[in-house]
């Protein structure tokens, strides 16, 4: 706000001017103070609306829960053997029971391992180089060798031998080009573990050599026996193109996305490949060495997975998973193990759910009612007269007076919810406990659902509390807009007061200086007159004669 004025005058009127000036500025600030007060009230209103919104949302949610209890009649599911079959109600609307018997098996995952162990998971060959994985009758071929031009290029470049290899187009195929990184030197590439094999490169001695042969497909066509020796100058490097190992096989299988997970089991008898299906159910998991299914199956065949097999009310059911949620509407059960003993699944109404929901309603209702009451009457808060308050008052009256003309439960009082003269709700557990099963059933109908009956008021309340489009949110948004406008107004007023302060200060300083000057002149004239009087009359004479 405005900075305090400091007025330094020299006349005997200075203090008066100062007080007048200060007072003038204070008064000029009155509209600002009023605006600030108004803004403060608005922000308090917004806070009150925020608390009100929470209370409305809570009651809305409580009524929706109450409606949900009514809609599914508080049905809960139980199993006579929960360790064999677990069950839950997921929307059942009627109390009934089911019998599950002859549970031959729970669903299990297929899990096999290699019949043989391999000494070195990273080096010991596991096959001829090509394998066929069969999952549930679907075959996929796995190649463990990389005996092709592209891999040869990559392997040479990875050697760090001082040469750079590349694949070049040559005629109708591709060729390998190897260039020295340090000028002309001898470059030879022998097919074999030493220099006795065939040199696959030209021998021009220019520092760049090319394969003497061309290869139809650089990614497929075989280029060597699998082991090669690069001779560059006096250095020799022997390397293999094959990746015929357990680790490579594991990685390739996992890369297939075939619905199985491969892993390596390291034991004292060597490394074994383990394959497990990602989902339960009977299936086939086989791994043949070679192309097709005529080769040797490298895996055991002892655990090809099982289906959940059982009877439901005498009907045979076999399914890959243990969770059964599409057979009985609104009921989900899970087969946990085999059992020859029949298991009974039951759905029954749990009246305590209704009781709890009603108690929650009472608590949430009272919270909201208290907030609304705080904004009406002589001691009303800042939301007095607010449209939202008036509308909520009406809505709460509709809730409390809601009644049905059907069944043995026609009002909340019939369920034990009572309202005092001051509108405070309470839950009478004794009344509720005395309800017969029929009355409880009628009570479910009375509370309806999330959109009908008593529960239907949930939607009416959420129209107020919706965080995006609710009435309360709209009012809060309006307050925000007004707040911004007031702040802008306050700022403008502050600027104007500052200007006025400057103008007043100038004027008053000037007036004060003139007072001082005048005072000085008057004193001088008075002194002169007194001196003259002594000369003329021999005595002082009053200044005005």
């Amino acid at each position: 706000m405005s900075t305090p004025l400091v007025f330094t005058g020299v006349s005997t009127f200075s203090s008066d001017f100062q007080s007048i000036l200060t007072r003038a500025v204070q008064i000029a600030q009155i509209p600002v103070t009023q605006l600030q007060s108004k803004d403060s009230n608005l922000l308090q209103q917004k806070t009150l609306l925020g608390a009100l919104n929470s209370a409305v949302a809570d009651l809305s949610s409580s009524l929706a829960s109450l409606g949900a209890v009514g809609a599914n009649k508080a049905l809960t599911a139980t199993s006579s053997a929960p360790l064999v079959v677990s069950v839950s109600a997921t929307g059942a609307t009627s109390a009934t029971s089911y019998t599950i018997n002859s549970i031959t098996s729970a669903a299990t995952v297929a899990s096999e391992r290699s019949t043989s162990g391999y000494t070195d998971a990273a080096a010991t060959p596991v096959s001829f180089g090509t394998l066929t994985l069969v999952i549930a009758g679907v075959a996929q071929t796995i190649g463990l060798t990389s005996n092709n031009l592209n891999n040869l290029r990559d392997r040479i470049n990875a050697l760090g031998a001082g040469v750079t290899a590349s694949v070049v187009i040559s005629g109708s195929g591709s060729a390998l080009s190897v260039t020295s990184n340090s000028g002309p030197q001898s470059i030879q590439l022998f097919d074999g573990p030493n220099s006795t094999g065939t040199d696959l490169l030209t021998n021009g001695g220019t520092g760049t050599e090319q394969s003497t042969a061309t290869y139809a497909d650089p990614a497929v066509t075989q280029v060597s026996t699998g082991t090669l020796t690069l001779q560059f100058g006096s250095s020799s490097h022997t390397f293999k193109l094959a990746s015929n190992s357990l680790i490579s096989l594991r990685d390739q299988i996992n890369g297939l996305g075939a619905g199985v997970t491969a892993s390596i089991l390291t034991t004292s008898n060597g490394n074994f490949l383990s394959l497990s299906a990602n989902a339960t159910g009977a299936t086939t998991v086989k791994l043949f060495d070679g192309v097709g299914t005529t080769g040797t199956n490298l895996l055991t065949g002892t655990n090809q997975g099982t289906n959940a097999v059982f009877q439901l009310n005498g009907i045979n059911i076999s399914q890959a998973g243990n969770v059964v949620n599409s057979v009985i509407s609104g009921v989900t059960f899970t087969i946990l193990g085999a059992s020859a003993t029949p298991v009974t699944l039951s759905t029954t109404s749990d009246r305590t759910q209704l009781s709890s929901a009603l108690q929650d309603f009472v608590a949430k209702y009272n919270t909201l009612k208290q907030q609304v009451n705080g904004q009406v009457g002589q001691a009303a808060g800042l939301l007095a007269g607010d449209t939202v308050i008036n509308q909520l008052q009406r809505l709460l009256r509709q809730v409390t007076s809601y009644h049905s003309s059907a069944g043995s439960v026609q009002s909340m009082a019939d369920l034990g919810v009572q309202f005092s003269n001051t509108g405070v709700a309470s839950f009478n557990q004794t009344v509720f406990n005395s309800l017969t099963d029929t009355q409880v059933t009628d009570g479910f109908s009375f509370v309806g659902s999330a959109s009908t009956g008593l529960g239907g008021f949930s939607a009416n309340l959420s129209a107020f509390s919706d965080p995006i489009s609710g009435f309360i949110k709209a009012e809060q948004d309006g307050i925000d807009r007004t707040d911004r406008s007031i702040q802008s107004h306050i700022s403008a007023l502050g600027d104007r007061i500052a200007i006025m302060q400057a103008n007043l200060t100038l004027q008053l300083e000037k007036a004060d200086a003139l007072q001082a000057e005048l005072q000085s002149q008057q004193s001088q004239l008075t002194g002169t007159l007194q001196g003259l009087s002594l000369v003329l009359y021999g005595k002082n004479v009053n200044a005005l004669g």
């Binding site: 009127f13 008066d16 001017f17 007048i20 000036l21 007072r23 003038a24 008064i27 000029a28 009155i30 509209p31 007023l493 104007r496 200007i499 006025m500 103008n503 007043l504 004027q507 008053l508 000037k510 007036a511 200086a513 003139l514 007072q515 000057e517 005048l518 005072q519 000085s520 002149q521 008057q522 001088q524 004239l525 008075t526 002169t528 007159l529 003259l532 009087s533 000369v535 003329l536 004479v541 200044a543 005005l544 004669g545």
Partner: protein, 91 residues
């Protein structure tokens, strides 16, 4: 400017609340007062001094009225009016 002329100018300026003109008039008046110091003692001089002192009191009264005008501003503000930033105290 004689003392009488300066008194008249000062009175005219203070009556109208013209502080700038009053400033010039008082400057002339102090010059005129200084010139009186060399005048010979006489009844006439005494009369001129008394008149000048009287005129000065009128000017002082006007300046007091000026403060009253500021009080009037205060009153206007108290009524909730926003003062024009260009408020002219001579008004």
């Amino acid at each position: 400017m004689t003392l009488e002329q300066a008194n008249a100018a000062a009175l005219a300026a203070s009556t109208s609340g013209d502080l700038e003109t009053l400033k010039h008039a008082l400057a002339s008046r102090v010059e005129a007062i200084r010139e009186l110091a060399s005048a010979a003692p006489s009844e006439e001089l005494a009369a001129r001094l008394r008149n000048a002192i009287g005129a000065g009191e009128f000017v002082r009264r006007d300046l007091c009225i000026l403060t009253g005008q500021i009080a009037a501003v205060r009153g206007a503000l108290g009524a909730g009016c926003i003062v024009d930033p260009a408020f002219d105290l001579r008004g």
